[in-house]
Amino acid sequence: MLKKNKTILATFATSIALSYSGAVIAQDEQEIVTVVKVTGENWFTRMEEGVNAYGEEHENITTRQVGPGRADAAQQAAIVQDLISQGVDALAIVPMDPSTLEGVLRRAMGRGITVITHEADNLQNTHLDLEAFDNAEFGAHFAEDIAECMGYEGKWTSFVGALGSLTHVQWADGGAEYMSQFPDMELISPKNESFNDSNRAYDLAKQILRSHPDIKGFQGGSAIDVIGIGRAVEEAGLEDETCVYGLGLPRDTSAYLDSGAVDGIAFWDPKDAGYVMNILANKVLNGEEVTTGDDLGVSGYENVTVTEGPGEGKIVRGQAWVDVDASNWSDYPF
């Protein structure tokens, strides 16, 4: 009985609501919502700055960022589904796990919602995927710094978060590829797996220092690898003899950058990535094409490369890495 009442009520409500809906939709404000992996992490708090900045700088566009309270692909999918029901104009998504969102995003695109993704170059159901840089180039960039610092000779090694982390392996391979042009550079026990654990990275680095006391170069993979390596180097008192470069976050790595145990880190600025995702969303909404060589007006994305993605969509790549060392880490508050 109660259930029946509910249905009647809902139908009644819908009919009232429909008569009002005209007024709501009449605004031509475009709504772009950015969905991140998890709320509250420094990385995504920084990204939110970029997302909000885009909304403030552009009239007729509202932007906001949402994300699950916990890093769970199911919660992220639920948020995206509810956003589709709300009928937002565009979604800019940093998927927790790209493949779990395929079905949801297919429906989003089916309902005419623009889908932009980030760090998901294997995703099929997207209009544009934004990558900060080409992964092999990023690895080569570290190798360049290491080689220069080592004087183009000596032993070096590389770390990855896990062999299953595609990007980390691409960075390590890109580095090794670049190093192969210098005959005096010797790569020993490459791709050490730290399992995204700085203690594990520390243990591995200590072992390597013990078995190869003359090692000079370390290339970090996951963002915490340099922290573990830095600690091992500092304990061994080899700050000046070694060259440690890798992905890292300024705040977390600052102590080792100051002591010289870590010589330099690079990363891509999530603020810019958030901003550029919204630029791309706006472009797609306006029916503009993005092509190779386009200048998106943000440092690092002034000359983007556009390639075909695995599905209908395209991949947009910048050269947006930011180099940080002891002198400028304090410019980045994350």
């Binding site: 109660l2 259930k3 009442n5 509910k6 009520l9 809902a10 409500a13 819908t14 609501a17 429909l18 009002y20 809906s21 709501v24 709320t39 509250g40 906001r64 949402v66 994300g67 699950p68 309270g69 916990r70 769970d72 692909a73 199911a74 919660q75 999918a77 639920a78 948020i79 589904q81 509810d82 956003l83 589709i84 029901s85 709300q86 009928g87 796990d97 790209p98 493949s99 779990t100 969102l101 395929e102 079905g103 949801v104 297919r106 429906r107 309902r111 099929q124 896990a162 299953g164």
Partner: protein, 335 residues
Amino acid sequence: MFSIKDAEFLFLAGINAMLVVAALVLVGSQFMTPYNFQSMGTQVPELGLLALGVMLAMISGRGGIDLSGIALANLAGVVAFQVAPVFVVLDTAPVEYFLTFSAVALIVGVLGGALNGALIGYAGMTPIIATLGTQLLFSGIAVGITGGSALQLGYIPVIDNFGNMPLWGVPRTFILFILIALTLAVILRFTRFGIHLFLMGSNPTAARFAGVRVKSLWFRTYLLVGVLASIAGIIIAARTSSIKWDYGTSYVLVAILISVMAGVRPEGGHGRVVCVVLAATALQILSSLFNFMQFSNFFRDCAWGLLLLLFLANTRIDWGAYLPSALWSRGESKP
């Protein structure tokens, strides 16, 4: 005259209605679209099935609970993904592929459930410890098989239609969920298994002396819980067109919350299927409402915790004692 169980049912139905009205007032037209109801409908079944599993475990008494549900669901998907291509080629026979996939997943559910049942029923382990152990075991095996990465089913129209597309305006997975709930309600109410289960949950010792084979009953209960989990696994695979070992890690607690909201007593012997279904839909409407109103997702976690405590407290307080006895007659613990 109301009995306790009718009060529970009316209370939950009322909450559902109230939430819909609240959504109408607070969000308005956007919320009332058929699309939104379909979208919420596709989100309910996987959690609902896990909650039904938790309900069965709780009814069976002795601190019954199932923490391994979502881990088993993911493991079922992982194994089915590996085994199904051995029997059927996906490209030529997608329907048969999906049937094989489902069959393998169900077998994994039976095996996983049997393991839980054996540990709890025959080895006499405490359910919370046993299922915590099997949860780690199941997800460990799933990680071992996949290496930690997601398995891509890809876009298979048959499977995607099942997972995401509505039939006569109702999501197919939701129809399946309701059918399963109905079957379960009938089993609990009319079969010997059901009647014995409630008897055992209220008082295992009395049940044993009354001639109920309690060990075997516990075993069969957890076996059924495992099967429900594997069906959730099939739905997850269809909905996301992929399988990942750590999908839905937050579901463990939400499934328990749904059962407790539904008035299932953690002490055993009491619980109703229809209440669990209503609690699941209420929680889904509330969750979507939060998303529409752009509440922080931390607030949602906090709200879930508060709800859990509130409903637990509610079952502890005997409201009947505060009302004239003419209005209340204590209901029996029946489904």
